[in-house]
Symmetry: C2
Subunit: 281 residues, 2 copies
């Protein structure tokens, strides 16, 4: 008897996915697993347009819960970022069923809000890593392949290289984590390596957000900080002078959080997978 | 015997002031008070250039403490915003002397971080209102005149019209308050009217920051929310559809914070003064 396929459900808590992008990801998954070992269901909600969002809050929440609560799915894969996940957290919390805790969740950027919320609920298979939309990046097929390698096979070569079985980790976009601070779904990072990345923010905003994050007393219990890539930083009318690494080192120094170096994550095709919590050995 | 002059010290916790701007403010104050009843000392730190900032953190902190701790000053007036105040909070807390509690503090935007920190320390005369840099706005002389009317004379016509002796208030820039949430200097807004304004942020960011702010359990103890002006909102690649008032009303509705209407504050020459806490009758 053959093994049942690994079933992945794609939902879009923020902005919509283009159908052509979804097709590209499905085709790529088919090439990678021609034996049909992987099945990807893209929820039709992903293609909706409601103002800024891929459907209104109720529709996006319902789509997430439909897939998260369905025992037939092994994983929920966030389609893309773009803003909107924070609007769903309270509805998601109100609707989670037991089957939701038994699957993997993968995404980053705006989707980090839901990763944080699920991790704060004790979900054990939550990870920061590539999303379907990444297939559109230069070299993006490798990102999607890496996501599937972690989701389906738990492959170690998909992981951010510093991830170890000994020390738990979390990873976030800097702005997204800043806007989780002081909410009921702020992740408990005590004893965790905190990996952070950013895209398209002025350097002074990276500085301000790192000031914010490292000023929170609970965050200061992190085992250390690793900085991922900060890309597409716009030029400001005043140069900030400090680099992102100098900024991160300074806030580590001021807050007493150990500086651990760089992390191989970012808004790019090289973005590696960071499972939240302790990686199984 | 004539009354001693009211002495105002100007410091710049963020970006530098241009000397010509300072001269314009001094000239205006001289016209408004030809009797010499008001003396304004602009700290030379205001004109320094250190990368993004008006002097390095140590220099800006020292300038603030020099004026705040000097009993000869009746008020400390923040020169302008532009980012940098959050870098000073810990040093300011470490250096405050008793005389600092006996004076008024006035500013807004980035300076809101220091207003929050001082208010969290129990300082009684902290207010959100115009700064010297505002003289450069169209009609900006009226803003500076309003600031002086509150600082020197405590004039009621300088106040935001809903400010009342019955209900305490605070006012902040939305992004600045968001980045105070969960820090030790998050202001206690229990029972306060919370007035918020914004400038130059995408509408989706206003939405995200209001989600963040209103998700904090302590903020939910506010007596209500009033929305100031949200100006210069950039166009996004996706229209947000909701207006800033619809956004604020929605987050009030979701969080249980009473919606109280609009506030006459903003990044403009009409920005009225909001004293923190209970206005003296």
């Amino acid at each position: 008897m053959s093994r049942p396929p690994f079933r992945i459900g794609v939902v879009a808590p923020g902005t919509p996915l283009e159908p052509a992008t979804a097709e590209e990801v499905l085709a790529l998954a088919g090439e990678l697993h021609p034996d049909g070992a992987v099945e990807i269901a893209v929820h039709p909600q992903c293609f909706l347009n409601h103002g800024h969002f891929a459907g209104d809050d109720r529709t996006r929440t319902a789509a997430f819960l439909e897939f998260a609560n369905d025992p037939a799915f092994d994983a929920v894969w966030f389609a893309r970022g773009g803003y909107g996940a924070c609007r769903l957290v309270e509805g998601v919390f109100a609707g989670l069923a037991p089957a939701a805790a038994d699957k993997a969740y993968l995404g980053y950027s705006d989707a980090g809000t839901l990763l944080a919320a699920l991790y704060s609920r004790g979900f054990g298979r939550v990870a920061h890593g590539p999303m379907p939309q990444d297939v559109r990046r230069a070299g993006g097929a490798a990102a999607v392949e890496r996501a599937l390698a972690w989701l389906v096979e738990g492959r170690a070569d998909a992981l951010e290289p510093s991830v170890s079985p000994e020390v738990p980790a979390v990873a976030f976009n800097i702005t997204i984590l800043s806007q989780l601070i002081g909410t009921p779904w702020q992740p408990d990072v005590s004893g965790h390596v905190l990996m952070l990345e950013e895209v398209s923010e002025y350097m002074y905003r990276i500085d301000r957000s790192l000031c914010h994050i490292t000023s929170n007393p609970a965050i200061r219990h992190a085992a250390g900080l690793r900085l991922g890539r900060c890309s597409d930083i716009p030029e400001n009318d005043r140069p900030f002078v400090l680099t992102e690494e100098e900024i991160a080192r300074e806030w580590c120094d001021r807050s007493g959080i150990p500086w651990l170096g760089r992390a191989d994550i970012g808004h790019d095709a090289d973005n590696k997978v960071v499972p939240f919590g302790r990686r199984s050995a």
